[in-house]
């Protein structure tokens, strides 16, 4: 029973981790909470759904196409809603983010309506039994995809020239621009990658729960944000850890306390961690900026 909950938590948590990465990457670079990120997740799910059901694109391809489309949307949101406010107050950017979120959600409502859509299943519903837990084929696929994406992101950030530039820009924008780094370009890439990961999560969750709605980004968006803060916002391994920890805590809380308190457990965890370690699990101590 307990191990089963751990496994379920890991599956849920890996989808949170993918969302959390988008928040944390954007925050790491421009210190903005991208409140529209939950809507990017929702957009990803819709894009995947429409590609599969209307355009009859194979699942595998639709998954990556949805990621690419969400990347475009993320770049557009940054360009229209955040870039013009780059040099104004943080509050202005935050309000713009909330505005972008509301706008995208209403746009989805307008185009797709309020009814839930059913995502067809890409694989046959086969369930594997082990002595300790059961897991479906779909769940295995979700786990594998999530972890592959996280590994790919880590390698990209650590090994590539753009990844190195992203880390430099996160540490010191002025000095980074003196290296010949085009800051705007790096910010664009960051939004693209974060949005693509969010969309990947959206597609997988849409397939998993078999429903896609215009408001589906709300709660997972919030949870992804909680996960990012849990891990230490701005910290990439932290976001992965925070997501998984949140997923597991939530599942276990739901199983042993009450499933009605699922969300409350998530926020209780956040409050507890922040009381003990205000910068999050892997967050650096706040440095005075000179």
């Amino acid at each position: 029973m307990f191990i089963q909950q751990l496994v379920n938590g890991l599956i849920l948590g890996s989808t949170y981790a993918l969302i959390a990465l988008g928040y944390t990457m954007v925050y790491g670079i421009i210190e903005l909470i991208n409140f529209a990120h939950g809507e990017i997740y929702m957009f990803g799910a819709f894009a995947g759904l429409l590609l599969v059901t209307v355009l009859k694109v194979p699942f595998f391809l639709a998954f990556f196409l949805a990621m690419a489309l969400a990347a475009l949307l993320g770049m557009t949101v940054e360009f229209l809603a955040y870039r013009p406010l780059r040099h104004s107050t943080r509050l202005a950017a935050l309000i713009s983010a909330i505005g972008a979120s509301i706008f995208l959600q209403n746009l989805a409502l307008l185009i797709m309506g309020a009814q839930p859509y059913t995502f067809p299943s890409p694989v046959e519903a086969k369930v594997y039994q082990t002595p300790f837990f059961t897991i479906s084929r779909l769940e295995i696929i979700i786990l594998i995809f999530s972890f592959l994406l996280m590994i790919a992101l880590t390698l990209f950030i650590q090994r590539t020239k753009i990844g190195k530039a992203m880390r430099a820009v996160a540490q010191d924008k002025d000095t980074a621009s003196l290296m010949g780094i085009n800051i705007n370009q790096i910010i664009t890439v960051t939004f693209a990658i974060g949005s693509a990961l969010g969309a990947a999560s959206g597609v997988m969750v849409g397939i998993y729960f078999r429903t896609v709605t215009f408001s589906m980004g709300l709660m997972p968006g919030l949870k992804g944000f909680v996960a990012a803060v849990l891990g230490g916002i701005g910290n990439i391994p932290g976001a992965m850890m925070g997501g998984i920890l949140l997923g597991i805590t939530e599942t276990i809380g739901a199983a042993y306390i009450s499933s009605q308190y699922r969300d409350a457990v998530a926020f209780a965890l956040l409050i507890m961690v922040l009381l003990l370690k205000p910068t999050g699990l892997l967050g650096r101590p706040v440095q005075e900026k000179v």
Binding site: K161, K164, A168, D174
Partner: protein, 234 residues
């Protein structure tokens, strides 16, 4: 090589530089001296594009760079070592140096320059994989200079390379500055240590509250009574 014409600049509504004129010829070391807060750093930031001139023009190799963004200015051959050794603390020494060559594509040549920097600063070679934040102040200054050299600049802007370093270290750094210049890099040097700056450079500018008040050969400046009183402690 570099020509600043009637440039005014500042931060928001605060004007710091008032119509300054300054030029640097190819092959020279030119120093800009002045007390705290007169606008030396602001001058360098305006040249490298971190700040935009509010009026006036800046030309580099006869091209107007007054409105060019910093990353393009780096590509054109100006490298700015900012004040206070701004290395990327959570990147390794090697990664910091690699970023210095970000705008370049000639891989083989980058490798050569990397080896050259390691030779110039042997202390860095011992710490390649260490994160830059763990280096001592002097080592960070070396790293910042080495990183700037990785872009193969035609013009190197140095902002107070001596700041906070032990005297012996300072001499070492200045020897290296001389050597960099001998190998063909033009240098604009900002220093509070006027003595050292005037002995290193060929020509000098003296700045007071955002204005250039004197410019001459360093020999002449060293003899100038105003300079001796105000900056050489006599």
């Amino acid at each position: 090589m570099l020509r600043i014409e009637n440039v005014s600049a500042g931060y928001g509504s605060i004007r710091v530089l008032h119509q300054i004129n300054l030029h640097v010829n190819e092959g020279e070391i030119v120093c800009l001296i002045g007390s705290n807060g007169v606008g030396k750093t602001t001058t360098l930031k305006t040249i490298s594009g971190l700040l935009r001139p509010e009026e006036g023009r800046i030309y580099f190799r006869n091209r107007d760079i007054s409105r060019t963004p910093p990353h393009k200015i780096v590509e054109m051959g100006i490298s700015h070592v900012p004040e206070g050794r701004n290395v990327f603390p959570r990147l390794t020494v090697r990664e910091n140096l690699e970023l210095g060559a970000y705008a370049r594509k000639d891989k083989a040549e980058i490798k050569r320059d990397y080896a050259m920097v390691m030779q110039t600063f042997p202390q860095l070679a011992l710490r390649e994989k260490q994160s830059a934040g763990t280096l001592s102040g002097g080592e960070q200054q070396m790293l910042a200079i080495g990183r700037a050299l990785m872009s193969r600049p035609r013009l190197l802007l140095l902002d107070e390379p001596s700041m906070g370093l032990a005297p012996l270290f300072v001499l070492g750094i200045f020897e290296i500055i001389n050597e960099i210049n001998r190998q063909g890099t033009t240098i604009l040097l900002v220093e509070q240590n006027a003595q050292l700056a005037l002995r290193t450079a060929h020509r000098g500018y003296v700045m007071e509250t955002g204005r250039i008040v004197l410019d001459d050969s360093t020999e002449a400046l060293l003899k100038n009574s105003r300079v001796r009183k105000a900056y050489l402690g006599e």
